[in-house]
């Protein structure tokens, strides 16, 4: 049965309560922190040796698609009515709109230590201790909009610039490419405009979302569901185009063995990008 991922702004009060409740239960079971650790382990730079599956790489999209699916599976083992909602940051753009409400993810961090004080994930509620962060903070942190030097969320026009590129990704398949849907969506920009789309959203939320422990903020899932939706939109718009590279690129640009080609295994899963290109039998977006 294909289930539906909804815009978080369209969830009913009951749906919000069940989504939050399932997250808290997955956290209580100890599963949530394994997602945090998995993400930390898979963050590496493209100037480093070894395979990079998650970031600065063509498989950024399928890797995060699978991560969200795993979390969603965990939530649905708790409550099978729950799916991961998406946050359309091109429409819900203020620090007080959804998802930053008390019945969803809570609000901004306070001044000083940036501790989130409101909503279900505030430390004082006792149900969201940070155990696998980059710092010794025990509480969730946010700095919505970056108080000391404000930036805006990316816009619809920013998304459109990524979506209109018909090519999935280009050589050398890393954070330096200026063409291809993947990096325009992942968002490693030039020094003059360093954060596009996905990366800019992480930067805008700040706090935990800025570093290796970004999964500690449950908004991570809402962000990546929306990124995942863009991949589907891109596929619908460019039906003759697919995940690239189709085959391992060879050694000429130094990327052999460092990226995941279409039919290669995408660690840590026993799946390939090809397996993950079509999820229409699992979920759809409303």
């Amino acid at each position: 049965m294909v289930y539906v991922r909804k815009n978080v702004s369209r969830l009913t009060a009951g749906e919000r309560r069940r989504f939050v409740g399932a997250l808290l239960e997955v956290k209580r079971r100890g599963e949530y922190d394994e997602f945090v650790r998995l993400h930390i382990r898979h963050f590496r730079g493209d100037g480093e040796r070894g395979l990079r599956a998650a970031h600065m790489t063509p498989s950024f999209l399928p890797w995060h698609r699978m991560l969200v699916l795993e979390l969603e599976n965990a939530l649905r083992r708790v409550d099978d009515s729950v799916t991961v909602p998406y946050w359309d940051w091109t429409r819900n753009r203020s620090a007080t709109s959804v998802p930053w409400t008390d019945d969803l993810l809570g609000g901004n961090g306070r001044r000083g230590d940036r501790q989130v004080m409101t909503g279900p994930f505030a430390y004082r509620n006792g149900r969201w201790p940070i155990r696998a962060g980059v710092t010794d903070d025990r509480f969730l942190t946010r700095d919505l909009g970056r108080a000391r030097n404000p930036i805006n969320l990316p816009t619809k026009a920013d998304l459109d610039r990524a979506l209109k590129d018909p090519v999935y990704d280009v050589s050398p398949w890393d954070s330096t490419v200026t063409k291809g849907f993947r990096n325009k969506m992942e968002g490693w920009g030039p020094d003059t405009n360093p954060w596009l789309n996905h990366n800019r959203v992480h930067r805008w939320v700040g706090g935990a979302m800025l570093g290796g422990g970004s999964v500690n903020d449950p908004v991570f899932w809402l962000v990546h569901a929306f990124v995942d939706l863009q991949w589907q939109r891109w596929q619908q718009r460019h039906r003759n185009h697919r995940y690239l590279p189709a085959r391992p690129p060879g050694g000429s640009r130094g990327q052999d063995g460092r990226i995941v080609a279409r039919h290669e295994r995408l660690p840590p899963w026993d799946l390939t990008p090809d397996d993950l290109e079509d999820v229409s039998e699992i979920y759809r977006y409303a």
Binding site: E31, E48, N73, A132, V134, T135, D270
Partner: protein, 165 residues
């Protein structure tokens, strides 16, 4: 269960039946859907990633020298590691803030970013370290979660990131 402490076992190596970077058999969409939804079918099995040395065309020498200074009240120290590094671009660095390891990462253009801020990059390890201190603020300390050759948990064979401490 898809994700568990057991699923991401410490120090595990690739088990039988996993295929490494070899090309897996093609699956039908239905098989894939079953895999994605089936509990236990998708274990987060640690793997040994292909981690072969890379001869980079733009291999460069480190452009910075070791540092040991107090920045905003924090002792920051960094030095290139005295052996052939793990990075594709040249030497790796050991960096600490008040004695706690700070994981720096290298980008393909030779710039540096830190585990504390994945989204800003700097020309040298020193600049990246100072920026990490800025982000850390006056009261936080680093927590060493990173797997790597210098202390910390060695979580699995994939943990050979470029810059470790």
């Amino acid at each position: 269960m898809a994700v568990s402490a057991d699923g991401v076992s410490v120090g595990a190596v690739q088990g039988e039946g996993t295929r490494g970077s070899a090309e897996p058999r093609r699956r039908t969409r239905r098989e894939v859907a079953r895999l994605l939804l089936g509990s236990g079918a998708v274990a987060l099995t640690p793997v040994l990633a292909a981690s072969r040395p890379v001869e980079s065309a733009n291999r460069q020498r480190p452009t910075d020298i070791p540092f040991d200074e107090t920045y905003r009240g924090r002792r920051i120290q960094g030095a290139p590691l005295p052996f052939q590094g793990l990075s594709a671009l040249g030497a790796d660095w050991r960096v600490t803030v008040d004695g706690n390891p700070l994981h720096l990462m290298r980008r393909a253009d030779g710039t540096w970013l830190s585990m504390l801020d994945h989204y800003s990059w700097y020309r040298t390890p020193l600049e990246a370290t100072r920026a990490a201190v800025d982000e850390l603020g006056p009261r936080r300390r680093l927590r060493d979660l990173a797997p790597g050759p210098f202390g910390g948990e060695h979580l699995h064979g994939e943990g050979r990131h470029g810059v470790r401490a």
